[in-house]
């Protein structure tokens, strides 16, 4: 197994929230390859979101290592981890993904405020930031007249698509989605997922998608049941 092909590599990870608490996560091993689209499922409270925070470098494990794109996160200072996250990872959450006081366009471009790299990725290809935002929104089936709209005027489904555009802008290598479809009804859910998967495929983005809705699993390269790899008992 060559190092270069791993987007995420977790070894002997153990994490507990508070001193003295039982571990929420105890993962001997987890590999996710670059470009792979992985579905992680698990019961509520099983530690899925916690795992994503560890991958995002917002949390550090008490023992073990998390490497993202060949970078060991625990070797970075917290400042470096924050900028590493901004540069390489896009996030989509279950709901309330958007900053209510920014219009659609500013929400989409938010990562470019914190990451020079993602900004340059766009400019390198000869696009303006706005062009790229428009392109992504169009790919995600959102009309461009929404650009200056307040995000609070959007439907939940539209909001999630704006969030997806934000996660994808500037071509981060990794997109992490934490139950992005659970606020959507069944129709929109598959529609949203298709758009997201297509865009990830085009940009060759690694996607880690968390949900407890197994119906979505077949659309992914691989499904992981968290309980199967987690030795901690929740």
């Amino acid at each position: 197994m060559s190092i270069e092909t791993d987007a995420i590599k977790i070894q002997n990870l153990s994490f507990h929230w508070r001193m003295g608490d039982a571990a929420v996560l105890d993962l001997p091993e987890l590999h996710i390859k670059r470009g792979e689209r992985v579905f992680i499922k698990g019961a509520s409270g099983s530690g899925k979101s916690t795992l994503l925070s560890l991958i995002g470098g917002v949390l550090l494990p008490q023992s073990g290592t998390v490497s993202v794109l060949d970078q060991r996160l625990n070797e970075l200072s917290s400042a470096k981890r924050d900028s590493f996250r901004a540069e390489h990872i896009g996030f989509i959450f279950q709901m309330f993904n958007l900053i209510p006081y920014l219009p659609v366009i500013d929400n989409v471009l938010l990562p470019c405020r914190f990451s020079q790299r993602r900004k340059h990725n766009i400019e390198k290809r000869g696009f303006t930031l706005k062009d790229e935002a428009v392109r992504l929104l169009e790919h995600l089936d959102l009309s461009t007249e929404m650009l200056q709209r307040s995000v609070t005027e959007l439907s939940v489904g539209q909001q999630q698509r704006v969030a997806a555009a934000r996660a994808l802008i500037g071509g981060p290598e990794l997109v992490i989605a934490d139950e992005p479809t659970s606020a959507l009804d069944a129709d929109r859910r598959s529609g949203f997922l298709q758009l997201l998967l297509k865009e990830c495929f085009e940009q060759d983005t690694t996607l880690v998608f968390v949900s407890h809705d197994s119906a979505l699993e077949p659309q992914f390269d691989r499904g992981i049941q968290l309980a199967d790899i987690n030795r901690a008992i929740n």
């Binding site: 917002v58 400042a79 996250r85 540069e87 900053i99 006081y101 934000r166």
Partner: protein, 419 residues
């Protein structure tokens, strides 16, 4: 930088609550600056009202009272002093000049001062400035009047116009000396002292309008008309007070003792500087209390801001999680909040200062008439800037509390969105 634009956009999103917060802090800052301004300017205005006079002489009362009625034209004298005593003081070897003052009448709420030409020569204000005539000249005839700048402006008077004096000093007087009108012969330049609000006539004029009067009312059947009055002896028998200038300042205490121990009549000689200080001191406690209250009001305003920020914190935890996910650092979140506190305080200060000027423009004439204080409208002093800086500093300091909580939240929540 970009985090501050976020702070501003977030504030614009909460315009209404933020505006209310700004409004209350602005009011409190206006109050604080207003009180400070009143304190400082009142002191200056007081000190500027009279200069060059070594002693003020009047009937025995308190020095502050004497100062108030003779110089500030506030309140009324308890007693007059006799012309004889006045002459005796005037003839003292150490006395360089005297100015007699006779008060008790008014014109449309402006006080009437009976005096002589020495008044225009010796009354100085604002650290040695003499009175100047904008138009006309000092009174020469019994029925001549010289008016202060504000009298002319507010009543729209000009030279040659006739005015009727009223008996007593109330705003509305029922007994008018309308049988003996005065003619305006001079208008003084603005001084920023009570002189601006005074109608000056000669002592003889005062005497003339009161001939045939007894106990403050005309004696029935004893009417003497204006021309007849000229013929009788218009030498006053009493005056209200006198300003005294000495040949040497060093003699002040000796002359003061002489007057205070004057055997024929209970008199009081007050040193203007000392009386001013005493007047100031009587107000010191009230000033301190006012200042303390206004500082407290600012603190109340600031804690209102903190409450609003802490309340918004809960719903903003989501926003913070999103910002963290796109790479914002915990200190970005910290700045977001401190920046808001700073912006609120700065805007509130600016609004407060603006409101202060507006209030000052409106309140100035009222303060002048009611308190005899002449408050100049000037640009903010260094002292005032320091007060504003202190308020902004206090606001930032208080803003650290919600900022620190937000910082803690963003560390503990990470990217988890809490509802």
């Amino acid at each position: 930088m970009h985090i501050l634009t976020l702070a501003i956009k977030s504030m614009l999103n909460r315009k209404f609550t933020i505006a209310l917060t700004i409004f209350s802090i602005a009011l409190s800052i206006m109050l604080l600056l207003g009180v400070e301004r009143l304190r400082n300017d009142a002191r200056e205005s007081f000190a500027n009202t009279i200069s060059g006079t070594d002693l003020i002489v009047g009937a025995r009362s308190g020095p502050v009272q004497l100062l108030l009625y003779s110089v500030f034209r506030i309140g009324n004298p308890t007693n007059n002093i006799s012309w004889k005593s006045y002459e005796e003081i005037k003839d003292q070897r150490l006395v360089a000049w005297t100015v007699p003052l006779s008060l008790g009448d008014s014109h449309h709420g402006f006080r009437v001062l009976g005096t002589n030409l020495d008044y225009f020569r010796h009354y100085h204000y604002g650290g040695g400035l003499a009175l100047e005539f904008a138009k006309g000249a000092p009174f020469a005839d019994v029925y001549d009047a010289v008016i202060g700048a504000d009298v002319a402006k507010e009543l729209n008077y000009n030279l040659g116009q006739e005015v009727v004096l009223a008996h007593g000093t109330g705003e509305v007087s029922f007994v008018r000396h309308d049988d003996k009108p005065f003619r305006i012969v001079g208008i003084l330049s603005k001084t920023g002292t009570p002189v601006d609000r005074t109608v000056h006539v000669s002592l003889e004029g005062i005497e003339a309008i009161h001939t045939g009067w007894e106990n403050g009312a005309p004696r029935p059947g004893a009417h003497i008309d204006a021309e007849q009055a000229r013929q009788i002896n218009l030498q006053p028998k009493t005056i209200t007070a006198a300003l005294v200038g000495l040949k040497s300042r060093l003699a002040a205490f000796r002359v003061q003792r002489f007057i205070n121990e004057y055997p024929k009549e209970p008199l009081l000689a007050a040193l203007p500087g000392v009386a001013l200080q005493e007047l100031w001191d009587t107000m010191a406690i009230a000033q301190q209390v006012l200042l303390a209250i206004s500082v407290l009001v600012v603190l109340v305003g600031i804690s209102g801001m903190m409450t609003a920020m802490l309340t918004s914190l809960n719903e903003r935890r989501r926003e913070m999680a999103v910002l963290r996910s796109v790479g914002a650092r915990p200190w970005h979140i910290f700045i977001l909040f401190v920046g808001e506190a700073g912006a609120v305080m700065s805007i509130a200060s600016a609004v407060g200062v603006a409101a202060l000027y507006v209030t000052q423009l409106i309140a100035r004439p009222i303060i002048q008439t009611q308190l005899g204080l002449f408050l100049p409208i000037h640009s903010p002093s260094t002292h005032e800037f320091m007060l504003i800086a202190a308020a902004v500093g206090a606001g930032l300091l208080v803003g650290l509390i919600p900022a620190y909580r937000a910082y803690r939240y963003s560390l503990s929540d990470g990217m988890t969105i809490r509802l």
